[in-house]
Subunit: 481 residues, 2 copies
Amino acid sequence: MSAPITALPPSLESALSQMLGPVGMLVDASDTAPYTRDWRLLYEGRCAAVLRPADTGELARIVALCAEHDVPIVPQGGNTSMVGGATPDASGRAVVVCTSRMNRIREIDPHDLTMVVEAGVTLKAAQDAARNAGLMLPLSISSEGSAQIGGVIATNAGGNNTVRYGNARELMVGLEAVMPDGSVFNGLRRLRKDNTGYALRQLLAGSEGTLGIISTVILQLQPQPRSRELALCAIADASAALTLFGAFRAQDPSAIQAFEYMSGVGMALVTDLIDGATLPLSEPAAAYVLVELASARADDSIRTLMESVLGDALENGLVIDAVMAESESQVASLWRLREEHAEAQKRAGANVKNDVSVPVSRVPALIERATAACEALIPGIRVAPFGHLGDGNIHFNLVQPEGMDPAAFLARDHDIMDCVCAIVHDLDGSFSAEHGVGQLKTYMMPEWRGGAELETMRRIKQAIDPRGIMNPGKIFPAAAS
Amino acid sequence: MSAPITALPPSLESALSQMLGPVGMLVDASDTAPYTRDWRLLYEGRCAAVLRPADTGELARIVALCAEHDVPIVPQGGNTSMVGGATPDASGRAVVVCTSRMNRIREIDPHDLTMVVEAGVTLKAAQDAARNAGLMLPLSISSEGSAQIGGVIATNAGGNNTVRYGNARELMVGLEAVMPDGSVFNGLRRLRKDNTGYALRQLLAGSEGTLGIISTVILQLQPQPRSRELALCAIADASAALTLFGAFRAQDPSAIQAFEYMSGVGMALVTDLIDGATLPLSEPAAAYVLVELASARADDSIRTLMESVLGDALENGLVIDAVMAESESQVASLWRLREEHAEAQKRAGANVKNDVSVPVSRVPALIERATAACEALIPGIRVAPFGHLGDGNIHFNLVQPEGMDPAAFLARDHDIMDCVCAIVHDLDGSFSAEHGVGQLKTYMMPEWRGGAELETMRRIKQAIDPRGIMNPGKIFPAAAS
């Protein structure tokens, strides 16, 4: 990786450096290095420069100049992609365009419950600003401290509250983006209804930077919940978890703020390997559910709802044991048991991660079949699925057997992924629920999204980005883009 | 309109008639006439044949054959477009492809709360089937008895419950469509999270038949509300209505099932001209709000919520008078006052309709400014706006002055629409909230959605339908499509 950085065409380099100055343009390898590898260290590329525009005007001029010179652009926000979606390839031809300086929260409107934020605002900063205005941005993902809103929308992030409020795409009511020719699509309208042509905002959301760079968005906010209850339940298996989800949903789907599944294997890793993480139940179980109910109303019967459903479930044996949080610190402790799953798995050795989804009703079949298949594939493998059961979205993660060489385990990563994905395919699911395709999963597109679907995507890509300069190598398998 | 029907190319005609038989293919002018005019009688076209496929396979073969012969296709469902979106042009070259025979409800899944319906199922039939399964399809529009699901999704219909559940696009979790080359895009996945490439489902929803023909959809259902309250309030003006909406929303936005505004002028037309429609309040007011609250829970404090917000509003003078429905028949009577607005206006003479939206906070400005402008434009004009205040979507309808010649009034339709739309534009609104563009409003696209937005739409259209055979003349002004 010590090869010299490929120079930009001189006229482009001088135009860019004149516009952006030293703060806005990084060219030294030591400065650009952090932008050329993903945080999982799956990919390490190179780039000709990192460009950091201060506003939409600069961003548009950057794109127009790069288009003129046929220089590829890799858009990057907080660089938190799970699939190498924001990492340049090894050619060194591309520029990385990072939105981190476009970080103003322009407006919070308490009447329309909307928030206008630039692409480089972190999700956490946007959440905090909403909270300080007495409102809530109901989008929560584990990378929220670093992930930037532009990337969050460009990858249609999901997370814990999708079960109640939808994915990032559904929370976005307005969007501005710089298109691959440098023109600006201004869709910054805060309208609940607007049937005037194609759904370009929705198309750009989730396009992973391959159709343009999102520069500003308008997000839909909600009032802060005034009542909230959180419970951890010990259960026998995923089938019991699904039945419990159905019991809550039959009462009131709009009260379910989060419904998370955790395996007994995963929970044991958390309590064994994370300082201060303890199970507040009498004994360990084969599986767990963390359920959060909430309402905007202070006088709402959320507590009664939780107690009544859990009471019935305990009585008929569906739930083995349960604990409700009685303070903010207990809320934090219970959520921590869920949030530390990834860290605990990392400490337990090498991991293979699958971010898959199936119809909600088929989650038990997924967990049962994929667990058996993985255990048969690699004896001693630790199967630790967890995640958003209420969305049918399970992070089907596998931890190496104790004592196995990590490299030997990781050498089987495609075997493991194929083993899980074959079952997901059979259950009419998706190989990527929240994380997107990036470069890690492009090879899966022809089999899973082939025929008219992939052909239509290719046509859209070709029509909007005929030069193929926007985030090349992402989403589409190499033949096309 | 008595010119002979333009013949299809003979090889195409014989292939189609062999496949479809007499039930599936209409060619006599008397049979095809109802399919060649819109119900508002704004447009009367001609067609070479009406094709009525029985299933997706037949639909796909029809499209492939038409593509081969460069024969334009006008998709049609219940023919309830407000904007001539399903009417062929006068050339007689096109075939109308009507989905009415594809009318099976294939499955209702009580575990995933989803429903698989073919394009030709009416919205009413889908609602009824959901209700019979103990569930609710939360989409309600005035044409629901005729409108078919394919068209409902293709035009991204809105209606009374959008304030709570979103537009048709948000209620659709899976979609199958026949693309302009006859290939079938199978996006019939019932997944809450699926980030594997571009949002083609969302793009096809709202594309008004210009990118393909929707053949089957999967809809998201909800449990039926177990508690529900409806109130009619007399208020001073739209500003008071907005304040009242804010008061309910501050308590609990998810309880607001509908929030409808009506003008005093419009209500007076209803009570004067509709048999049995009476105002259940002590005296007429300048404006009214119909608010419906609901919850999935039987034990929920919906009644308390309604009484507490209305009690405060009556006390501080925000609401002048109010009545709550105490029986199902009272619910029907109150909703009838709202639903008969269009019919009453029709009986009062010639109408000009504007389906516009603005940010919710700007509805009072819209109503105040557009009322004054229209009254200045045509003295004696009856300004009768009504609609979905909670979505910022007002049907800004104008009724001719009493005694004026209807034709003379209608001759001013563009003056009136321009007068209203100039104010909508100034308030950052949309010229079409729910009804789409069709052929009626194509001329507005360059000014309202020009630049990068319209250019991107054109590129997508060209890429997906390079022959321009899918619903030509819709959405795009003539120069392009």
